[in-house]
């Protein structure tokens, strides 16, 4: 009797904590867990901070495709890169996630597009918020890619052996602008229609093939229902596809050219 009273004196939070620890131990010991997280992962049981484990965190994870195990000390200085390249990539990921969400509620036809966005605002949970996120991160991405280019130029980072990666970067800047521009049309409101009209009229001045390119892109002499479908496919599939390929080359070359440039 006395013993059971003694036991029940253990407070509820303590019991819960003990239970949680036991459960976490059981989970981390399970075959499933150890098969998911390779040796050295910070989620493995008994991870300790050691030089070997710090190497394993990268070497034994998918991050190894992006990062080497070690980088030059100056390369982690935020004041050097301002994180602009990484942020551009992260904004692209955010745009992909929010963009996929928007695709569930949007039909690229002249009859449905505008009203789909309208009802996204009023009838879909977080619809307006996600559309706002998509719009503002798109502008942010244009800005951060542009600033990234300026940063790289001012550091002279395009010089040998990084010449070609600069060329890839300029392609990525153009693709970013095209992605933003094609997305501009999709809401199918007065702003989209006329901004894109002004933009594509400039394209028509290109000699020799300007008119033909414009015709193919618009699917006619002027912006219409065909344009909307074409630009939708460009925006959600083709341009992101091309961009991802260029991104892969860009990141791969950063490592092959000896990590980021500098220090000055």
């Amino acid at each position: 009797m006395a013993n059971s009273i003694e036991k029940s004196k253990q407070s509820l939070p303590e019991k819960l904590q003990q239970g949680a620890t036991a459960a976490a131990d059981w989970m981390q010991d399970s075959q499933f867990w150890t098969s998911v997280f390779r040796p050295g992962s910070i989620f493995r049981k008994g991870y300790t901070d050691s030089p070997r484990n710090r190497s394993y965190v990268i070497m034994n994870s998918v991050l190894y495709h992006l990062h080497p195990v070690k980088v030059k000390r100056h390369a982690v200085k935020v004041s050097y890169t301002l994180c602009l390249g990484g942020l551009s990539f992260f904004l692209f990921i955010l745009l992909t996630v929010t963009g996929i969400f928007l695709m569930f509620f949007y039909r690229p036809t002249a009859a449905a597009a505008w009203s789909d966005i309208e009802s996204l605002h009023t009838q879909v949970s977080f619809g307006l918020l996600v559309r706002n996120l998509h719009r503002w991160t798109a502008h942010l991405m244009v800005l951060s890619v542009f600033l990234h280019m300026a940063r790289v130029f001012y550091h002279g980072a395009y010089k040998a052996p990084r010449e070609f990666n600069w060329v890839v970067g300029v392609m990525l800047l153009k693709l970013t602008l095209l992605l933003s521009f094609t997305g501009y049309l999709l809401p199918w409101d007065q702003l989209s229609l006329w901004a894109v009209t002004v933009g594509t009229n400039m394209m028509g001045f290109t000699p020799v093939f300007g008119d033909q390119v414009r015709f193919v892109l618009l699917g006619g002499k002027q912006i219409g229902a065909e344009t909307l479908l074409r630009w939708y496919v460009l925006h959600v599939l083709m341009l992101p596809f091309v961009l991802v390929i260029f991104l892969a080359i860009h990141f791969w070359r950063v490592r092959k050219d000896g990590g980021i440039s500098g220090p000055l």
């Binding site: 965190v57 982690v76 505008w114 706002n132 130029f153 002279g156 521009f181 002004v198 400039m202 440039s261």
Partner: protein, 239 residues
């Protein structure tokens, strides 16, 4: 033509001299005389006779005294020679000042990602993306503007012929920008050595920045010049 390391040149000279019959002038006298002979230093021999006795007795092969440092399980190893990595291969990777990506780089990246997400989220909570009336081909808004990053071009169109403003200037700019590494032959990336490149690029970036700002905020009805504090931004600027 890659440069042949000095120590390799020296070694080949020594080998040539040896082939010619002259004994090579050994510069590293101390190290080579130690390794040359078959003799084992007396101190080590004594050590091995005490510590490595079982191995010597059991193995019929070991005719000479087993070397020093018998392992705990009786394994014995003999250090024949030390090959310095620089002598047979040119080591390119010199240990530099490096840090682990985890946690030094990943932590910074994660923090930056969190901040930009928080910023975008808060911004999106308070400011809504524009959605004007349904597209109408028969109602041209006044002014009609391209997206902000093309407003520099639209601004140029007010000054020059479309062929120049819409094609020639942006074409030249894009080609020059793309081929910048092949045009700028200056190998230095120190700012003090790159005054011309930095000046040109700064003028170029400011050129577009000023045009975009004028196009965005200083162009009103009919794309005529206006002051935003006179007319307000309503109807003039959309993002």
């Amino acid at each position: 033509m890659t440069e042949i390391p000095e120590h390799l040149l020296k070694r080949s000279q020594e080998a040539k001299a040896k082939a010619d019959g002259d004994p090579a002038p050994s510069t590293d006298a101390g190290g080579s005389s130690d390794d040359d002979g078959e003799t084992i230093p007396r101190s080590l021999l004594e050590q091995s006779q005490q510590g490595g006795a079982p191995a010597a007795a059991g193995g019929g092969v070991a005719t000479i005294a087993p070397p020093a440092m018998a392992g705990p399980s009786g394994n014995t190893h003999r250090l024949l020679t030390v090959v310095k990595s620089g002598s047979i291969q040119d080591v390119k990777a010199t240990p530099g000042d490096k840090v682990h990506v985890w946690p030094h780089l990943l932590a910074a990246e994660f923090t930056a990602a969190l901040f930009i997400t928080a910023f975008a989220l808060v911004f999106s909570l308070f400011i809504n993306a524009p959605l004007l009336e349904l597209a109408n081909h028969n109602a041209t808004p006044n002014p009609s503007k391209a997206p902000w990053y093309f407003l520099g071009l639209q601004e140029l169109l007010t000054m020059f012929d479309p062929m120049i403003a819409g094609v020639t200037i942006p074409g030249i700019v894009l080609v020059l920008l793309g081929f910048a590494p092949y045009i700028d032959r200056n190998p230095s990336n120190a700012p003090e050595d790159r005054k011309f490149a930095i000046s040109i690029q700064t003028i170029h970036l400011m050129f577009w920045a000023v045009l975009v700002i004028i196009g965005s905020f200083f162009r009103g009805q009919g794309f005529n010049f206006t002051y935003p504090w006179d007319t307000g931004l309503h109807g003039i600027f959309h993002l």
